[in-house]
């Protein structure tokens, strides 16, 4: 059976990818940010996941306004890093896990989550920046990755509650899988930020801190946060945080198991326009 060993939460700011790709990680502006992920890179080497389910949002890259899937799972064997307008990031191809992805799609759809199945797509900074932060700059990513894209571009995005339930459905799907696999699930995006209008640059440290506390100790309460609170308190793009609830919903305690262990917690302002938050939660074995 496949099982979730840990969940990882991190922002996915494009400028972080650019800073890494251009060798700026030791500049005073970026150094404190990358220092916050040193532990995480070590931890990744020890955790050795077989597969990562990476929840992220596409930023007008694979999906234009022609089609806007609310939840989309990548079932391809590989995914190319996208050209988002600046040229593609110089990072490795992303290897998928078609068997597990197809299994999750089938199981989760039969649990009434109507996923869109994507057999071909490029992946943007939403997916590659978290991989870079957690794995550094390897010549190949350490394991296959299943891209799981959530619409957070056009309102309404899925409700936090729905995302949290979807995470639970994904965990049940893993329970039914024949092969023994160590799976991590990552929720990415956020934390507070607003990229548009005269209110651009909004950061709400107090709210972010409370969100992290809630996500760890009372995920049901985090899932109950309504959209309007995200927009008002966390900025129009802060609503990306609903994606963290998918990862949180897949943890054992939500299904009656023991509380996860907080292996790492990090918060830094700013990365470009954004408050960066990062958590590693481990399930007990």
């Amino acid at each position: 059976m496949a099982y979730v060993s840990a969940s990882v939460y991190t922002s996915h700011v494009p400028a972080i990818g650019a800073a890494l790709d251009q060798g700026k990680t030791q500049e005073p502006y970026w150094q404190p940010l990358f220092a916050g992920y040193e532990f995480s890179k070590q931890w990744m080497q020890e955790a050795k996941p077989d597969v990562i389910i990476l929840v992220y949002n596409d930023h007008a890259t694979a999906f234009s306004l022609q089609m806007i899937p609310t939840f989309a799972i990548g079932t391809a064997a590989e995914f190319r890093p996208a050209d988002e307008g600046w040229g593609p990031r110089p990072v490795p191809m992303v290897q998928g896990h078609p068997e597990l992805a197809s299994h999750i799609a089938q199981s989760v759809i039969l649990q009434d989550f109507d996923l869109t199945i994507v057999n071909e797509m490029d992946v943007d900074h939403g997916l590659t920046v978290p991989l870079s932060l957690m794995c550094g700059q390897p010549t190949a990513w350490p394991c296959p990755v299943i891209p799981f894209a959530v619409n957070v571009v056009q309102y309404p995005v899925p409700r936090g509650q729905r995302c949290f339930q979807l995470g639970q459905a994904i965990r049940r799907a893993l329970d039914e899988y024949d092969e023994d696999l160590n799976v991590q699930i990552w929720g990415t995006g956020g934390m507070t930020h607003q990229l548009q209008g005269p209110r651009a640059g909004l950061i709400n440290k107090q709210w972010d801190s409370k969100f992290l506390d809630k996500l760890i100790d009372d995920p049901e309460a985090a899932a109950a946060i309504p959209h309007i609170e995200y927009v008002r308190e966390a900025g129009s793009e802060g609503i990306e945080l609903v994606m963290w609830l998918i990862a949180r919903g897949a943890m054992s305690d939500v299904a009656g198991g023991s509380k996860p262990t907080v292996r790492h917690r990090f918060y830094h302002v700013p990365a470009s326009n954004t408050a960066v938050g990062h958590l590693i939660l481990e399930n007990g074995h």
């Binding site: 700011v13 494009p14 400028a15 650019a18 502006y29 930023h59 007008a60 890259t61 234009s64 306004l65 022609q66 996208a82 050209d83 988002e84 307008g85 600046w86 040229g87 571009v153 056009q154 309102y155 309404p156 507070t192 607003q194 990229l195 548009q196 209008g197 005269p198 209110r199 651009a200 640059g201 909004l202 950061i203 709400n204 440290k205 709210w207 959209h227 309007i228 927009v231 008002r232 308190e233 129009s236 793009e237 302002v269 700013p270 470009s272 326009n273 408050a275």
Partner: protein, 149 residues
């Protein structure tokens, strides 16, 4: 029944909902086309001619030519799509976001380093925060522009 829009009372913010998306469909699809390098070249070679290939409104084309992102957003643009124009111009997300506040690049960068824009006074229309209409535009960028005109 009309769409419920509980977010209309937030200052300095336009939520990209179905209505904005309908209004901005061709504007955003034009932006999307710029993820191809060949299209970026064609756009840079003759912006007006490239824009005329799209069934956008004249106002949307003017907003793009002026690189006025607030104007683009009012006419249905979404920031993730508009970012393709910025990328074509070699601008970062921070430069793009800052350009919507009236601040210079340095002023905006400085605000972010100091912890960003406070939510205080910026949660509801009618409060007194720096994103409220009566306190906009902020910063020196628009003063510099006014002198040039």
């Amino acid at each position: 029944m009309a769409l419920d829009k509980p977010y209309l009372d937030i200052p300095g913010t336009i939520i990209f909902d179905a209505e904005q998306s309908r209004k901005g469909y061709h504007l955003n699809q034009f932006c999307m086309s710029l993820i191809k390098a060949a299209n970026r070249e064609r756009f840079k070679a003759d912006e007006r001619a490239y824009l005329d290939e799209w069934p956008m409104t004249e106002e949307q084309k003017q907003a793009v030519l002026a690189r006025d992102l607030n104007w683009c957003i009012r006419t249905g643009g979404n920031i993730y799509f508009l970012a393709k124009i910025g990328a074509t111009d070699g601008k970062s997300f921070q430069q793009m976001a800052g350009s919507m506040t009236g601040m210079t690049e340095e002023e905006y960068r400085e605000m972010m380093i100091k912890g960003g824009r406070s939510p205080e006074g910026n949660r509801y229309l009618g409060e007194d925060g720096d994103a409220q209409a009566h306190r906009q535009p902020q910063g020196n960028s628009h003063h510099a522009q006014a002198k040039e005109m």
